[in-house]
Structures are given as structure tokens and as C-alpha cells.
């Protein structure tokens, strides 16, 4: 059964259509990649799914039930967790405290503190428990974004460019974590610009351009799709 079903979802900001009648579904246990040029509406789409903004039209179903209008923190409790493209820092909290707060979703405090330590070690942030997010490098901040998601024990995670700005070598750590999560049965929907990474990871991909879905298929099908190539390089490129 589809754990997530997005049905004809649109978002308009005044005259601008940021997301235009997008439909897709994600099967439990799948890794779905979402790509598209800057401004294609990818992050807006995540905002609509995760409850941070209401869609102008259409429906989103999580686990068979509509989640339109459900507050973000309640979605997290139901198992839908997201990361942010722009790393969200907590100025005065240590990374351990931040991840503990996330772990509190399903655990009493002492267990949550314990679990948060494990999660930080798992994403490769051991030894940095008492730094504040501001003291972390970009790579570590991205790992912290992933750790926050993981600590809520999600069934579905929406990862928004957790590897953007990292070198290919630096993507190894988050990649391993995502694979491990998926192996445990967590469904993953990820927006990513780093093509070699998403090509290796995603089982299926969808492509957005100007808010609309222009292609869907396996990574191989996507790179061979003419509409996708046109969207990225313009349609006057002579091969």
C-alpha cells in the first residue's frame, strides 16, 4: 500500500503557481528522489506534505488518511518527519539537547537523552554532543538535520537537500545513514541536487519544473527523458 499519496496538489502564492497539480505516490519502504531546477517548487511541495502550509487545492494522504490541515508536530507523532534545506539552528541548545527534544516524541526523558546519544553516534557526530549547532561545520549541520529526523522514529522521512554543498566524499556519511534507515523499513522521499548521489540511491524519481511534474521513472529512464534534459539545459542544446 502507498504510505504517501499526493493527489493533484497545488499551491498558489497570489498569481504565482508554485506547485501545479502534482500527483505521485510512494510505496512503503521505497526511496523516491525528487529533482528539478531551482525554483521548481520542490521545497514548497515538502512544506505542503509536512503540514507547514496548506495546499490551495488537492489532497495528501499519509497511511491512507488525509493529512491536509494536520499540524506539523502531530504529523511527526504519526511518523512523518522532515528535514530542512536551510539548516535550522538552535542557538542556545547543544546538539545533544536538540536531538533529545526530537527523541522526546516517543520516549520519556531519560531514555530520550540516551537514545539521542546513540543517534548522534550513528550519524557520525560522536564527540560533538555538547557543541551548539552554530559551532558545527556545514557537513555536520546536515548530519544534525538527519539526526533530528531519525530521533523521532519516523516511518516516512522527507529529506530536503541533505547533501547540497557537500563534496562527494562528504556525502558518504549521510548516504550510509539513509541506506541504513531504509534497510530498517523507513520510507524515504528526498530532494537532491547532487545527481550521482540520488542516481545511486533512489529507486524511482520524479522531476518537477515550474511547479508541475514533468517526468517519473527509474533513474535510468529519467536521464534519458527528453523533457528532463530540456528542463535542465534548455531545449536548444545540440547534442
Amino acid at each position: 500500500m502507498a504510505i504517501l499519496a499526493v493527489d493533484n496538489v497545488s499551491k498558489r502564492f497570489g498569481g504565482l503557481v508554485a506547485v501545479d497539480s502534482v500527483s505521485f505516490s510512494v510505496a512503503e519502504g521505497e526511496i523516491l528522489g525528487i529533482i528539478g531546477p531551482n525554483g521548481a517548487g520542490k521545497t514548497t511541495l515538502f512544506g505542503l506534505i509536512s503540514g507547514f502550509m496548506p495546499p490551495s487545492a488537492g489532497d495528501v494522504k499519509f497511511d491512507g488518511a488525509s493529512i491536509v490541515g494536520v499540524a506539523p508536530h502531530l504529523l511527526v507523532r504519526r511518523g512523518l518527519s522532515r528535514s530542512f534545506q536551510i539548516v535550522q539552528t538552535f542557538a542556545d541548545m547543544s546538539t545533544l539537547d536538540v536531538v533529545t527534544t526530537a527523541a522526546l516524541v516517543r520516549r520519556p526523558l531519560l531514555e530520550a537523552i540516551d537514545y539521542a546519544g546513540h543517534v548522534l553516534a550513528r550519524v557520525g557526530l560522536q564527540g560533538k554532543e555538547h557543541l551548539t549547532p552554530k559551532q558545527l561545520s556545514l557537513q555536520d549541520k546536515k548530519l544534525l538535520e538527519v539526526a533530528k529526523c531519525v530521533a523521532t522514529d519516523p516511518r516516512l522521512v522527507l529529506l530536503d537537500e541533505v547533501m547540497a554543498g557537500l563534496t562527494l566524499a562528504e556525502t558518504e556519511a549521510p548516504l550510509a545513514v539513509i541506506r541504513e534507515l531504509n534497510a530498517q523499513g523507513v520510507t524515504i522521499v528526498m530532494i537532491e541536487h547532487v545527481m550521482p548521489v540520488i542516481m545511486r540511491l533512489a529507486q524511482r524519481m520524479i522531476v518537477l519544473n515550474f511547479g508541475a511534474k514533468i517526468a517519473e521513472g527509474t533513474p535510468q529512464e529519467i536521464v534519458e527523458n527528453k523533457a528532463v534534459v530540456d528542463a535542465y539545459f534548455g531545449d536548444h542544446v545540440d547534442a
Binding site: S50, F52, A71, P72, H73, L74, V76, R77, S81, R82, S83, F84, Q88, T89, F90, A91, D92, M93, D97, V98, T100, T101, A102, L104, V105, L109, L110, A112, I113, K148, A151, T152
Partner: protein
């Protein structure tokens, strides 16, 4: 609660400070006991305010409303209707809790930013002061005189100077304890995450309305109770002191100087500054009007410049450097 909550309770320091505090009335002349009592009132107020303003990071300027409700409403119920002041204290605390919850709901519903929140809470406080001054039942502009304190505890009378001091000492300890309990429990984690970033807090499962309302009602109830004690101590419920937004500014000042967000900082700020203000006014108030404000202002600026993150974090950093 985290183990460090119990460790702090079991460590000798708080008990030592409490014991020294408790014997003070036996050693100090009345004038200094009065200054210490007023200091305790401000320490408790700053500490109660810290739950919203420090831990949750929402600069509430509505707190004079809660002090005013605790002072004026309980006094009016006693003077006008003969209601026992203990009941009046509870009634006022309940009113403060409801108003606090309403403020939180407005904040949540309209997604007020920090500045809008400060301005709206200030508007609430201004309206409250105008309402009190315009309402005969609450004493109007002339305030309410309370019956003489005969030391009958069943009537919320603590026997003047020493009694009021001990009650305030207990109240201040309670406020600090509540701060510590919040900081070492899930509520503290939730509030701190909200303070730093509301969107990111929601994304890790923190419900804004529930946590904001909890913080505000706890803070409002404590503040209201301190207001009732303050009015009883002064034997006169003065709206221009107890319902005036100027009072909130002092609370915010003490809390900020002491160190926002820590359990002990805000009370510490009151202990550093309130006696200085009182003594300066006592020494200089009649010699050159205004001079004590001037000197007080210089002291405040000096303390802030010496420890921009609050006195408490300054002390902690000293401790770390030594170890």
C-alpha cells in the same frame, strides 16, 4: 526529570543559602529587612517571568497585569466583599491563568513574531492598568487600603516585617525550583527549542500551542500569587505601582542582567540591582531628586557591559576557566 535536578536539590549550596536567608531577619534592622523583602519580591517576579521570557524566549510585557490581578483583585475581594485573602489569591491566580492562556492563544493563532508579541502583551498590560484605575470595585485611582496585619495566617496575614520576609523567601525559592524543574524536564527542552526556532521545533514534534500555554499559565499563576503577597506586605494595593507596565520593565531588566533562561540567573539579577536601587533612593532621593536614577542607570550599564550574557553565565565561565 533529569538526575541533575535531584543532585542540585541534594547539594548543600541551596540549603546553605536558604538557611542564611532565613536567619537574616534576626540580624538585620527593619530598614534593611524591608530592602531585602522587596528584593526577594523582585527576585521571585524575575524568576517567574523567566519561564516565559527566558526559557521560552518570549518577551512578555504583560506581567504587570498578572501582578496587578494578584494584588488588586484579591484586595478588592477582601475589602469590598470580605472574601478571605487566601481565596482571593486563588481567584486572582485563576484569572491570571485564563488571561495568560488567552495571550498564548492569540500568539499562536496569529503567529506573532517576537516584536509583535512584546507589543501585544504591552497593550494588554496598558489596558489592564487603565481598567483598574477606572474601576471603583478594584479601588480606582486611589487604590485599596488593607486591614492591619495582625499575624493571623488564616487571614493571609504574616505578622508584618519578619513574617512577610519569610513568606517571600519561600516564594522565591519556589519560583527558582519551578524554573529548575522545567529546565530539567521535557517541557524545558520543548520551550528552549521553540525559543530558538519555532518551525524547526515543530518539525521535531514540539506542539507550539500546548507548550506556550503551559509556560505562560505557570508564569502567570506564580506572578499573580507574588502580587497578592506584595499588596499584603505593603498593606496598600497601589495600582500605579502594582498594575503599571513600568513594573514589568524592572522585572525584565533584572532577569536580563542576571541571565535569561537559567534557573538562578534572574533572581541573582534582582539581588544585584534591586538593593542598589533602594539604597540609592534612600540615601540620595531627598538630596538631589533624580540623582539616584542617574547613578542606578550607570550601575546597570556597568553590570551589563561587564557580563553581556548575564551575570550568571559570567560566573559560570569564571568557574570553567579555573577548572
Amino acid at each position: 526529570m533529569r538526575p541533575d535536578f535531584y543532585r542540585t536539590l541534594l547539594s548543600p549550596w541551596p540549603w546553605l543559602v536558604l538557611t542564611v536567608g532565613a536567619v537574616m531577619p534576626l540580624l538585620l534592622p527593619n530598614y534593611y529587612l524591608h530592602i531585602l523583602t522587596v528584593t526577594l519580591i523582585y527576585a521571585a517576579l524575575a524568576s517567574a517571568w523567566n519561564i516565559v521570557g527566558g526559557i521560552a524566549g518570549q518577551i512578555s510585557l504583560a506581567h504587570s497585569l498578572f501582578v496587578g490581578a494578584g494584588a488588586m483583585l484579591s484586595s478588592a475581594l477582601l475589602v469590598k466583599l470580605g472574601v478571605n485573602m487566601w481565596l482571593g489569591m486563588l481567584a486572582a491566580a485563576a484569572v491570571s491563568a485564563v488571561i495568560g492562556a488567552l495571550v498564548s492563544f492569540i500568539d499562536y493563532r496569529f503567529r506573532l513574531g517576537h516584536l509583535s508579541f512584546a507589543l501585544i502583551t504591552l497593550a494588554f498590560a496598558e489596558m489592564a492598568e487603565i481598567y483598574v484605575i477606572g474601576t471603583d470595585f478594584l479601588g480606582g485611582a486611589s487604590g485599596l487600603f488593607l486591614p492591619r496585619d495582625t499575624g493571623d495566617i488564616t487571614q493571609f496575614q504574616f505578622g508584618g516585617g519578619r513574617g512577610a520576609y519569610w513568606v517571600m523567601l519561600g516564594m522565591t525559592a519556589l519560583c527558582i525550583l519551578v524554573n529548575l524543574a522545567i529546565l530539567t524536564s521535557p517541557l524545558g527542552y520543548n520551550l528552549r527549542s521553540m525559543r530558538d526556532n519555532e518551525n524547526a521545533a515543530q518539525a521535531i514534534g514540539v506542539g507550539l500551542l500546548r507548550n506556550k500555554t503551559l509556560a505562560m499559565t505557570i508564569s502567570a499563576v506564580l506572578t499573580s500569587i507574588i502580587g497578592t503577597i506584595y499588596a499584603r506586605y505593603l498593606t496598600f494595593a497601589d495600582p500605579y505601582l502594582l498594575a503599571s507596565p513600568v513594573l514589568t520593565i524592572e522585572i525584565v531588566l533584572f532577569a536580563t542582567v542576571g541571565g535569561l533562561g537559567s534557573a538562578i540567573g534572574p533572581a541573582l539579577g534582582a539581588f544585584l540591582l534591586a538593593p542598589v536601587g533602594e539604597i540609592l533612593r534612600g540615601q540620595l532621593g531627598d538630596k538631589l531628586p533624580g540623582l539616584h536614577y542617574f547613578i542606578y542607570g550607570l550601575v546597570v550599564i556597568g553590570v551589563i557591559l561587564a557580563s553581556p550574557g548575564g551575570v550568571w553565565s559570567f560566573i559560570k565561565s569564571l568557574g570553567r576557566r579555573r577548572s
